[in-house]
Symmetry: C2
Subunit: 285 residues, 2 copies
């Protein structure tokens, strides 16, 4: 590309970083890209890092050594994290969301790419320092969340299905007990869609007893894969402790009461805010 | 936020633009945000626009008038568009992708958030100047693509389903004929998940005769919604002209031959490259 001045480099670098989260970019790459001295690139990076940290966008991590460089880690600051949680709480509390059977209509929220991106960035923020190879979810409603997290973490997505489609080749199936209905169901994952030994983050839109997520954890074993964490958008606390099938997870919100007759619900913040990590990293040098 | 110098403003503005595509942002907003004069903001925007256009990231459009401001329109340049198409062609041609029945395994591609984002940006680029209110797809495999396009266009997603879930309230169902199997099937969309009168872009991962997409078009009528365009990742040309149920669409790639015995396929570029729009817009002033 054309030789760029600092102002141009800062715009291009910011764009490039956002397109390549969690990827180590060498200073040489930028120096060649902009036909600039590495010392100038280093100064640029200090400016980008300062703004990112100050505004709560994340940070740049310096990776030392021959294969080193700089890595953009998307993060969310405490203030923005609270805003995301509060937004979901107030949106969930809108009347008319309660459906027959006590289900909640959530497709308006799940159908908003920007909201989903925010939640994805919040999960990715908490996971910033963990080694993760893949994000897993179950079709259908968890899919957008899984992609949002995976995009920020720069890893692939594995989609578990409740039906058996002929179009994905050899499949691994397991049976699981749906926590609330106690019925035995089947879930499947294409053999090729998760590398053996992967370290996996599981995400879903809703968790009650956690049967579906428990099923996905069992599925991980079939792939010799390892669970790194679980994230849900909404957890229902209307579950007896001994019925809960999943222990450790993070949730954006917690649904404490659903009144089907009045069509009202009570929602509170989940535990994700307790798990936030600081934005700033050690200085670039 | 703190008063920022030009270098800081350029980093923050670039970040902000990327988070808010297809949204009109007033100069006053930026002037207040950075405690800077509007004349300085205008100069900043000229720099951002120049780099975005030069590097093929899109453009900034000036919206005149009292409710005016600047709008970031993500676009893809010819060179990058060709690279995206070529990448898909070479990835599809990898042996072992052909499954029994002549289906193609594509979850490795569909499971890559960055690739999906690129394709989404390519579709959004072609659609940059069209008025679009929603992106529609059918579960499951079209979902990531739909979110990627919708994110760049700043509109919501409507997910049509082939099953009937109790958790989405009142649903609208239609019957459609699956083009290849000729069987009658049902697809449903939650009443609340598409605003009546919406202008809709339909996207899916694969199209053969187009029966599924034809079904979605029929569903649009039930919502008094209007079709603005159709995009598919892979179209199969192994269809008689009279069997084709959809006329106007754009495709990233075209599958011309699937040899189940040899497990080989032939793929070529779709028509999306013919539909690209120029990146540059009239000068900011």
């Amino acid at each position: 590309m054309k030789k760029l001045k600092r102002s141009g480099r800062l715009v291009d670098m910011t764009y490039y970083m956002l397109q390549h989260p969690h990827e180590v970019i060498s200073l040489t790459y930028f120096a060649d890209r902009y036909q600039s001295a590495k010392s100038s690139i280093s100064e640029d990076l200090v400016i980008v890092k300062e703004i990112f940290e100050q505004e709560g966008y994340g940070t740049l991590l310096t990776i030392p050594g021959a294969s080193g460089g700089v890595k953009y880690m998307p993060k969310v600051g405490e203030k923005e994290a609270s805003e995301i949680v509060d937004k979901l709480i107030s949106q969930l509390a809108v009347p008319g969301r309660v459906l027959p059977g006590g289900y909640l209509y959530m497709m308006d929220l799940l159908g908003s790419p920007r909201f989903i991106q925010d939640v994805g960035r919040l999960f990715a923020s908490v996971l910033a320092h963990k080694k993760i190879d893949a994000v897993m979810t179950v079709a259908t409603k968890g899919i957008p969340l899984a992609y949002a997290v995976a995009e920020y973490l720069n890893v692939p997505v594995s989609i578990v299905r409740r039906d058996h489609r002929v179009t994905e080749g050899s499949m691994v199936s397991i049976n699981y007990v749906s926590g609330s209905s106690k019925r035995i169901q089947t879930m499947t994952l294409a053999r090729r869609s998760l590398a053996p030994g992967s370290r996996v983050f599981i995400v879903d839109d809703f968790m009650k007893a956690g049967g579906t997520i428990r099923g996905m954890i069992d599925l991980l074993e079939e792939f010799q894969a390892e669970l790194v964490g679980i994230g849900v958008l909404v957890e229902s606390v209307d579950v007896d402790a001994e019925e809960r099938l999943v222990d450790e997870y993070m949730s954006i919100t917690r649904l404490s009461e659903v009144n089907v007759r009045d069509k009202t619900i009570k929602v509170e913040a989940g535990n994700v805010l307790e798990k936030l990590v600081p934005i700033a990293e050690e200085d670039l040098s």
